[in-house]
């Protein structure tokens, strides 16, 4: 039974559980709902949940377990010789693709089930047959791969059958339990509420566990990268020149330098403008201006970053070349092409303005009115009050906001991909093209990357580095912001 059908059957059994639970409870109370401990629907939901949850849990655990078991069995069939030629993982992914191809071929009627299980590379050109149903294979199928694929299919189909039996059995057991327990004295309401609470806990843990999962996958791949490439060279190498043919130099410093340089320019643009905008909006603007300007700024925050990237590439870059480039207005010839640190930094700064201003605005507004009154009541002018009381009071929060903006700038990708250029370079000239950590993660993983090579795995090490930096910034920023909030509570 295929997975969607199984899920459907499971849901149907759960609905049966609802009907059963409700019906049994009503029957035991002689049809008088008032004699029940809980409202009749609670018995229904109890039945539904008892039929559904254990079986669904079983299914969720079964799926990964089955694939692990099959993988180990099949991978044992691959000889060490062919595993040595390329990596075992690559052979396994070939096996899976062939198995998938055979499935498709059977579905399409090109092969019968028997043929699929018995064809041999000696007699049939499997690659061509699979090509007919739209499964393109990179190389000819060896007999070993084909046999492994056939074994894979056989194991899968047995596994699927067992899975169906196990899940349906669990659901039926649930129904039997409901049949016995759903009586008028049973506290169905409490039971349902306990289950609901567990569902909420589960949702919360999923959010946390995925984070943990992401970090773990980053860590594993990073560790694998460092087993192929020395950590020292990665962290302290001054050259970045990957070549998939081998002999790459993968030093992070040029990338990190460009990342920090661009972020610095972005902050130099966004912090003063954003902060002054926030001060104007929260302290000086009348309600009418506020009503228009605040939503406008928030619209700016909602523009997808790829649009900013286009803006950098098509507008800001050429504009800067017209000013700083060869034959430009200033005649200085500093800038060769439109993509440069300055281009990306300026546009990223524009992107961050609403972010900085709306955070600062919240923080300035959180300074109590009593503080303003106190200052004005002493004969301070409005701007003295802003400068000497409100800004110092809001300063920790504003610093936190700036750090948050910094961590967004460091992680920003589309603007630098389009605006900063592709050459890794250690240079002080902001009008030169450079490339950042994020942009290189993209370029190392797009295209036909071999995921076992250091040139691809380096992306994880880069990602991990970024993650650690931004995490550090966020933690510091949140700490500062929270500390500041406490001050007035």
């Amino acid at each position: 039974m295929s997975l969607p059908i199984l899920v459907f059957v499971l849901l149907a059994l759960s609905v049966a559980g609802y009907v059963l639970g409700r019906g049994r409870a009503m029957a035991s109370a002689g049809g008088d709902a008032r004699k029940l401990h809980s409202l009749p629907n609670y018995y229904g939901w109890f039945g539904f949940l008892v039929a559904l949850l254990p079986a669904a849990l079983m299914l969720l655990l079964w799926l990964p377990a089955q694939s692990v078991v099959i993988d180990t069995q099949v991978s044992a069939m691959i000889s060490d010789r062919s595993a040595a030629e390329s990596s075992r993982g690559l052979v396994m992914s070939d096996v899976e693709r062939v198995a998938e191809g055979l499935d498709l071929a059977v579905d399409a009627g090109v092969l019968t089930e028997e043929q699929a299980a018995s064809i041999r590379t000696e007699f049939t050109d499997v690659r061509e047959r699979l090509g007919e149903v739209g499964v393109a294979l990179g190389s000819d199928v060896t007999s070993e791969t084909l046999q492994a694929a056939q074994r894979y299919r056989a194991l899968s189909s047995t596994g699927d059958l067992l899975r169906t039996l196990a899940v349906v059995a669990a659901a039926l057991a649930g129904l039997a339990f409901v049949y016995r327990r759903a009586a008028s004295t049973f506290r169905a309401r409490n039971a349902v509420e306990a289950v609901v609470r567990w569902i909420l806990i589960l949702a919360a843990s999923i959010a946390i566990l995925t984070t943990v999962g992401i970090i773990l996958s980053l860590i594993f791949n990073t560790v694998e990268f460092f087993s192929l490439y020395p950590a020292w060279d990665f962290f302290f190498g001054l050259t970045w020149s990957p070549s998939f043919g081998g002999g790459s130099e993968l030093g992070i410093l040029p990338l990190l330098w460009a990342t920090l340089y661009i972020s610095f320019i972005a902050l130099a643009v966004s912090v003063p403008i954003g902060l002054f905008a926030a001060i104007y909006l929260s302290e000086y603007a009348g309600p009418a201006v506020r009503a228009v300007a605040k939503p406008l700024l928030e619209v700016l925050a909602g523009i997808p970053t790829i649009v900013y990237g286009l803006f950098a590439l098509l507008t800001v870059g050429p504009l800067l070349v017209d000013i700083f480039g060869d034959g430009g207005v200033l005649g200085v010839g500093w800038m060769g092409g439109g993509t440069a640190v300055m281009t990306a930094g300026l546009v990223m700064g524009i992107m961050l303005i609403p972010f900085v201003s709306s955070l600062s605005d919240d923080i300035i507004n959180a300074v109590p009115q009593a503080m303003r009154d106190g200052s004005l009541g002493l004969g301070a002018t409005h701007s003295e009050t802003v400068k000497q009381v409100i800004l110092p009071a809001a300063l920790p929060g504003i610093v936190g906001a700036i750090l948050l903006a910094g961590s967004r700038a460091i992680g920003e990708t589309m603007i630098v991909v389009l605006g900063a250029g592709a050459a890794a370079r250690l240079s002080l000239n902001p009008f030169e093209a450079m490339t950042t950590v994020t942009a290189k993660i993209v370029s190392q993983l797009t295209g036909d990357a071999d995921f076992a090579s250091p040139e691809a795995l380096v992306a994880f090490a880069l990602g991990m580095t970024l993650f650690v930096i931004t995490l550090g910034l966020n933690v510091i920023a949140l700490y500062i912001v929270r500390k500041y909030r406490e001050q007035y509570e």
Binding site: G286, P287, P368, A370, M371, R372, D373, G374, S375, L376, G377, L378, G379, A380, T381, E384, Q388, V389, P392, A393, Q487
Partner: protein, 265 residues
């Protein structure tokens, strides 16, 4: 500062420190103060009492033009301090507020050190010529507010770290530091416990020698203890004003009588 009481040459009588005539205050459409005439004597404590929402704070805030900071607020009529119309376009409200200090209901020290809290006003108004000058102003103000002994060893600690009562005295010291002539206090003790309240009341009594004090209070006992004159407001009207003793023992208006005997408000 005006050491001599201003004397009306023609009548030969003492002029009040503050005189208000036909004052109207509107918040948008709300008519919060209706046609109030009131004279406030120099170097006395005047208490404003009345049920909640009757306009005590509003009227108090007219006296140092704090209402200017509320967009929808409009003040009409004539308010004079030492004979000078404070709503005259020539008057800078910021200068006025240095002369008419204010203490608020909730203690609101700035998140700065105790020293900087006090020094804030003098610095803004350029009242000190040297650091030593400023030190003296700070010490003096703290002394007058009866706080000096308690904080003299920790002037550089944050003002927000003091107890509520100390914070309120800090705010009074802060107001005193700019040498005002009038101090307005809007329910200065409502956030304090009885002991801290007693301290502030004592302080108000001492300050009376040098300052004209107007205090809004919800406590009849407090008004009776600290003030020499009392004004009773009701629904935006000034119902009656007079010697505190008179108001509490022998009110002329029925509404005043009802209020002080606790029948409403």
């Amino acid at each position: 500062m005006n050491e001599m009481p201003v004397v009306d040459a023609e009548a030969g009588t003492l002029l009040p420190k503050i005189s208000a005539k036909k004052v109207q205050v509107f918040y948008g459409e709300t008519h919060a103060i209706k046609d109030v005439d009131l004279n406030i004597a120099d170097r006395t404590v005047t208490a404003f009492i009345g049920p909640s929402g009757c306009g005590k704070s509003t009227f108090l805030r007219c006296l140092n033009r704090m209402n200017d900071t509320i967009d929808i607020c409009r003040v009409e009529g004539d308010i004079r301090i030492d004979g000078e119309d404070i709503y005259d376009p020539k008057v800078d409200p910021v200068q006025l507020r240095a002369k008419v200090g204010m203490v608020f209901q909730k203690p609101n020290p700035f998140p700065k050190s105790i020293y900087d809290n006090i020094a804030y006003g003098p610095r803004i108004h350029g009242l000190s010529r040297s650091k030593a000058d400023l030190d003296e102003i700070v010490a003096n103000s703290l002394q007058k507010a009866g706080l000096y002994e308690e904080v003299k060893d920790r002037l550089d600690e944050p003002g927000t770290g003091l107890s509520g009562g100390q914070q309120q005295r800090l705010c009074i010291a802060r107001a005193i530091a700019v040498s005002p002539e009038v101090i307005l206090m809007d329910e200065p003790c409502s956030a304090l416990d009885p002991i801290a309240t007693a301290k502030i009341e004592e302080l108000i009594d001492e300050l009376r020698e040098n300052y004209t004090i107007v205090i809004v209070t919800h406590s009849m006992q407090q008004a009776a203890r600290v003030s020499q004159r009392t004004a009773f407001f009701h629904l935006g009207n000034l119902v009656e004003e007079g010697e505190t003793k008179e108001i509490f023992t022998n009110p002329t208006d029925r509404r005043t009588q009802d209020y002080i005997t606790g029948r409403f408000g």
